[in-house]
């Protein structure tokens, strides 16, 4: 396996881009990443995306997007793992370079979600759940996560107020991130009084619906030095899965897919949870973020909510988590999210992140998941 480096990053602001379609959003991020890598010429394209098929009746996304950004002729494919598609796309791009098939690979993530009313988008997102045994009953994605949130609060005695500390912090960070979708501050009271989406989950426990694209240029070691003064190494990648149906989980409060992916990524990078200085974790809902922290070994089981409420994982702590504002407030254009996370950590390591800055981290971690913590990727980066 060869070493792989991030040598270029590009992102679009996340929001409701009524003037841009899927292709132009993608092009904006992809061309920025190529420019950032001194005009590199990618030899392959990997795209993370979830909803192009269900919302836009568009498959064959790899070739479509490659051609649109001037890469006609290169091999291109889409990677789908529901809301975790972006992280899996990074893993796939990493593999192509590490295996020696290509020296320069473009990895992008793109999602266009704002064209349709919420129930339509909600139905498309619900395709991440089990169609025959969950979706058939009208189960929404927030409702499936609400099952876990209620169980978490009852099992560990976590209060609604403790749970609300997370979204408040995410909005504070996103307020300072020019790429974020929800750039406003909220209070604890706002979370408690927000409209209920699927009790106990409120609107302010949930990531917003938005459009966005992010891209990375990945390169092998010898090429990386030519394309960047500050290449960031992808030091370890791990992938994991769990049952898509919530009902047959061994333990609903033990995020198996996160644990499995993290164990591999830590081992391959030669690090432990205590070595992680900065992390971007998957907080599509408050409960998802908390269970992710526990599955990654960053918080003991059952204690993430309490620790967050006490100020852990904030700017200045170790690790500093979701300085971007997280899925909650930076936004969650689902198939692009995992690519945003890696781009953000790479920018933090270069000292160029335009929002809340980390304290010059050497080791960082990005984790995304699809479904109710069913498909997880963990990517460890090193400066």
């Amino acid at each position: 396996m060869r070493k792989v480096f991030v040598v270029g990053v590009g992102m679009t602001r996340i929001g409701r881009h009524f003037d841009k379609d899927l292709k132009s959003l993608f092009a904006e991020a992809a061309l920025r990443a190529i420019d950032d890598a001194r005009g590199a010429s990618p030899q392959a394209l990997v795209v993370g995306n979830m909803l192009s098929s269900s919302l836009y009746q568009q498959d064959n996304l790899g070739a479509l997007l490659a051609d649109y950004i001037g890469l006609r002729g290169v091999g291109a494919l889409k990677v789908e793992a529901a809301c975790g598609s972006g992280g899996f796309a990074v893993a796939m791009g990493y593999t192509l370079v590490a295996a020696g098939l290509y020296d320069v690979v473009l990895v992008g993530g793109v999602e266009k979600m704002s064209d349709y009313p919420t129930p339509t988008v909600s139905a498309a997102l619900a395709q991440a759940a089990d169609a025959e045994y969950e979706v058939v009953y009208g189960a929404s994605f927030p409702a499936l996560n609400a099952l876990a949130m209620r169980l978490y609060m009852e099992s560990y005695g976590a209060s609604r107020e403790e749970m609300a500390a997370w979204p408040v912090r995410m909005h504070e960070y996103a307020y300072q991130n020019p790429y974020a979708q929800l750039r406003f501050r909220i209070t604890l009271d706002d979370v408690l009084k927000a409209p209920v989406v699927a009790d106990p989950i409120t609107l302010l426990d949930s990531a917003p619906i938005g459009d966005g694209a992010a891209a990375l240029v990945l390169a092998s070691e010898d090429v990386a030095r030519k394309l960047s003064d500050a290449p960031v190494e992808i030091a370890g990648v791990g992938l994991g899965s769990d049952s898509v149906d919530v009902s047959t989980r061994f333990d609903i409060l033990d995020p198996l897919s996160v644990r499995k992916a993290a164990e591999q990524a830590y081992r391959r990078a030669g690090v432990e949870p205590k070595d992680i200085e900065i992390a971007e974790v998957h907080d599509a809902f408050t409960i998802t973020g908390l269970l992710s922290l526990e599955g990654l070994g960053l918080a003991p089981r059952g204690e993430a909510a309490k620790l967050v409420a006490e100020g852990a994982f904030a700017k200045g702590d170790r690790p500093e988590v979701n300085l971007s504002g997280g899925l909650k407030a930076r936004g969650h254009p689902v198939g692009a999210t995992g690519v945003y996370q890696v781009a953000e950590i790479a920018l933090q390591m270069r000292g160029e992140f335009p929002g809340v800055k980390a304290s010059s981290p050497e080791v960082g971690l990005a984790q995304t998941t699809g479904g109710v913590l069913a498909s997880t990727s963990v990517i460890i980066l090193r400066r």
């Binding site: 909600s122 139905a123 009953y137 009208g138 189960a139 989950i201 009902s247 047959t248």
Partner: protein, 136 residues
Amino acid sequence: MKTMRISPARIWRERGTRYRLEASRCRKCGRVYYPPKTVCPACGSRDMERIRLPERGRLLTWAVEYTVPEGFRRYAPIILGLVEFDNGARVLAPIADARPEELRRGMVVEAVLRRVYEDGNEGVIVYGVKFVPVEE
């Protein structure tokens, strides 16, 4: 995107699991799964038998869904419950005939056959299992 497309073959295939709550039980380690699995996710055994779940179980956790996917608007709010049985299996299904404030962890619920949704005014009516609270 509409609600799940209905195909007679699909409904027919699922008749055992959907309407009779058939689960799979691992003959090696004894764990029970609903929906059924072909290989035991816990011990890896392929020696799985079909069993019917009991009709009564206990409510483990639930969500009260106000924002519902397209096609379910007239059924909102949907109470989605996770019901646990004595053999360890769980079933995810709507809770009917109950108000959200009456629900509590551990309450006994019973399976009933109910209408899940209708595919338009002249379309097929889809039935499925829901759970209702039982007087103790």
